[in-house]
Symmetry: C2
Subunit: 238 residues, 2 copies
DNA sequence: CCCATTCAGATTGCATACAATTTGGACAGG
DNA sequence: CCTGTCCAAATTGTATGCAATCTGAATGGG
């Protein structure tokens, strides 16, 4: 019996669906800020870019719309989300609610292997911090978010992990729009401190520091309505 | 200038999309237990039922898949979700994390108008409780979930509200599969008690009671793997 | 009698064609 | 010059057709 299943490129097991692959690709482009908020994502254009029909491109855009990374207006098309200050506040309020619990769950489940992987990740994060240039900045933002996602993964709750996927991605958009300094420099050392507390099994302090950390991230934002956005929203409301 | 927009049936403003309407309809059928877990939802069948093409039906099923109410297997089709005991535990763990925070937020924002609406809702819930028959049971389950959703709506965070939409709907599926007594009778009185504490502004006790309430709901479950499900999962893993 | 193979029917995955809607500009009137 | 109307190009919404895949029963061999 021969293995007819030749598993063409199975690095990621979830690339069963081409629309899923496109979603991932666009997702990364959005959270990396290669696609700016407000950018139009026409079905034909996306389809041509990935060499698929509009049907598949449309499915990918629908998924991103569900995640809140893309906003579609009927008969007008899909655009990279342009979160309002109010949306930004809600995103961080949600994170304040969820992440301390994730940290507490991670304390109970984390292994020494996990901790080693976390340290590697934090070292990489540090490396990008010391580099210059927009590419390093993008990588730094991505790595910073990945810390929170790894934590969610260790916590062992697939549902919360999915919620965090969404919240971290949308946070990245918010920081791109309203961030004062790109990335708060204290964030990185706080990641280290949180990991230390988790390693020591101090769930209470780890959760408290995570709360503090989220406050810091949000404090670095300047949540004033952007001119263009405000105008657009006003038109949408009237 | 005549109003060409004749707004045919605009009770729900979000029925701009036919696929959205189908999603709502199927969603209600699933959480009402008119569609049992495991039921196959073929694109052609759904399309014929709602008099749309497979394209539109497919979009609705994709949305439900994203919400976790439907599970689709590639080249096989979509089925009403059959949550495993582990999934059930994760759903309730998520609710324990999120709902106390929602209650606390609701305390700060609730108006006397809201409270009146809540009391109406609870009276209706009580009415269904005293009725007999499967239709009343379905209505009771729905009403019981609606209490939690109204709370999320009052809390004023659209993101958390969407998370709760998903969690409550999936909880309904879990209760249908693993519920010992259908609906725990103490749940209703706890709803009243929670509302009272919210009205008095006692956020701490209200949140604590909500936690207790969720524990009660989960305690009423018998989270043993169902035979058929276990077999199916075993095949999927092997 | 049991088991592996094959094949037809059914269903999904995807592409394409057509209808409906929006948009921006041309154009006529004030 | 400004304004309102109308139309054509472009884009989305939807239906449908074809290819790929799965399922389950019929069939032939052991």
């Amino acid at each position: 019996m021969t293995l007819i299943e030749n598993t063409p490129s199975s690095l990621d097991p979830t690339i069963e669906d081409r629309s899923m692959a496109i979603r991932e690709s666009l997702r990364n482009a959005i959270i990396d800020r290669r696609l700016a908020p407000g950018t139009k994502l026409s079905e034909a254009e996306v389809g041509a870019l990935f060499d698929v029909s509009r049907t598949v491109a449309r499915a990918a855009l629908q998924m991103l719309t569900f995640e809140g990374l893309v906003k579609t207006e009927r008969n007008r098309g899909a655009f990279v989300s342009n979160p309002s200050p109010e949306e930004a506040r809600q995103i961080f309020a949600s994170r304040r609610l969820i992440e301390p619990g994730i940290v507490a769950a991670a304390v109970d489940r984390i292994t020494s292997d996990d901790i080693a992987r976390f340290r590697e990740q934090l070292v990489e994060e540090e490396r990008y911090m010391n580099e210059r240039g927009p590419a390093a900045r993008r990588a730094e933002i991505k790595a910073s978010g990945d810390f929170h996602l790894m934590l969610a993964s260790v916590a062992g709750n697939a549902i919360l992990q999915r919620f965090m996927d969404e919240l971290v991605a949308r946070s990245s958009l918010v920081i791109a729009l309203y961030g004062r300094s790109g990335v708060s420099s204290c964030g990185h050392s706080e990641h280290f401190a949180i990991l230390d507390l988790i390693e020591r099994g101090d769930a209470k302090r780890a959760a408290a520091l995570m709360l503090h950390h989220i406050d810091h991230i949000e404090a670095d934002l300047d949540l004033q309505p952007k001119q263009g956005v405000a105008l657009k929203d006003a038109l949408a409301i009237s």
